[in-house]
């Protein structure tokens, strides 16, 4: 890019700080690089003017601004409680599932005594068994000849 010794005068002219406006205007009409430099400066100024202005806090707004930040920080610290709540709900669901499973698959009513096998080595002896209605099991060794 070509430069001109009038560049700084053009910049002051764009900023409205030039004391020789007529001379600069005459130079711009005859100098292509200075005209292009003026054009780019004006475009940059227009772009900056289009940006939204940042909010400015006044002194009396500052305490409320800090309280808002503090409240948000406290809310963030309480968030782990959500994890415990989720774990509690999961545990409760597990209890219900196990209880339901136990109801449908748990042991049935307790059965009475049962004799699976009986035998004796006594000579000429037999063994019988039966269950009475009141749940007493009787095992009876019947010996035809006294072996004892």
């Amino acid at each position: 890019m070509k430069t001109c010794k009038w560049t700084s005068k053009v910049e002051r002219f764009v900023d409205g700080e030039s004391h020789e406006q007529e001379a600069v205007e005459a130079h711009l009409a005859s100098c292509g690089p200075c005209a292009a430099h003026q054009k780019s400066l004006l475009q940059l100024r227009a772009a900056l003017g289009a940006l939204p202005e940042a909010p400015v806090l006044s002194d009396n707004q500052f305490p409320a601004f800090m309280e808002g930040i503090q409240a948000e920080v406290s809310r963030s610290r309480r968030r782990p409680g959500g994890m415990w709540a989720l774990m509690s709900l999961s545990a409760a669901a597990l209890v219900i599932a196990i209880a339901t499973f136990s109801i449908f698959t748990g042991p049935g009513p307790v059965k009475a005594n049962e004799v699976e096998s009986v035998s004796t080595q006594l000579n000429d002896a037999t063994v019988h068994w039966d269950n009475s209605d009141d749940g007493v099991t009787t095992i009876w060794i019947s010996i035809a000849e006294d072996d004892v």
Binding site: G81, W84, A85, M87, S88, A91, A92, L94, V95, I98, P107, G108, V110, K111, A112, N113, E114, V115, E116, S117, V118, S119, T120, Q121, L122, A125, V127, W129, S132, D134, G135, V136, T137, T138, I139, W140, I141, S142, I143, D146, D147, V148
Partner: protein, 165 residues
């Protein structure tokens, strides 16, 4: 609060499991009775047999002598051996809990053989599924002078025993 609730739920979930899988103390409640017939007008029961009057009433005798009454802790593994009389011995295996609330045991009553007195033979060998606290009556074991040895037994199982008992 949620933390406490979670811990309580965890304990509630794990406590029944740990109890169910803890050591169980098993005991054999045993009455050893000598029964005979003396032509009495009313049946005689020795002291200590009150709990089994109803069971003994099914037998054809009129006199019941209390030979011994006791609660015998059963070994957690292996065989528990109990002397009944000078001529009879009871052996019971460690109960094995089943899924239906009953306990499997092997019961043997040993006596000395008439032919070979030094040798023990099985007067009775049986495998039982016992419901806790339900009674079993064993009868027909011969004693001298037409007397009969009668056994009444029941199993009790306590789940809350500390391990190693």
């Amino acid at each position: 609060m949620f933390r406490t609730l979670s811990v309580a739920l965890f304990v509630a979930l794990t406590l029944p499991w740990s109890t169910a899988h803890g050591a169980a103390r098993s005991e054999l409640k045993l009455w050893v009775v000598e029964a005979r017939t003396e032509d009495r007008d009313t049946t005689h029961y020795d002291k200590g047999l009150e709990a089994i009057h109803r069971v003994l009433s099914s037998l054809p005798h009129d006199t019941y002598r209390n030979v011994s009454t006791g609660i015998h802790p059963l070994k957690e593994s292996g065989i528990t051996r109990i002397a009944l009389t000078s001529n009879y011995t009871l052996e019971m295996s460690a109960p094995v809990a089943g899924s239906d609330g009953r306990h499997r045991v092997r019961l043997r009553i040993l006596t000395l053989s008439k032919e070979t007195p030094a040798k023990e033979i099985e007067a009775l060998s049986t495998e039982l599924l016992l419901r806790p606290d339900k009674q079993v009556l064993v009868r027909g074991l011969k004693l001298k002078e037409d007397r009969e040895l009668v056994l009444v037994l029941s199993l009790s199982v306590a789940d809350d025993a500390p391990a190693g008992t």
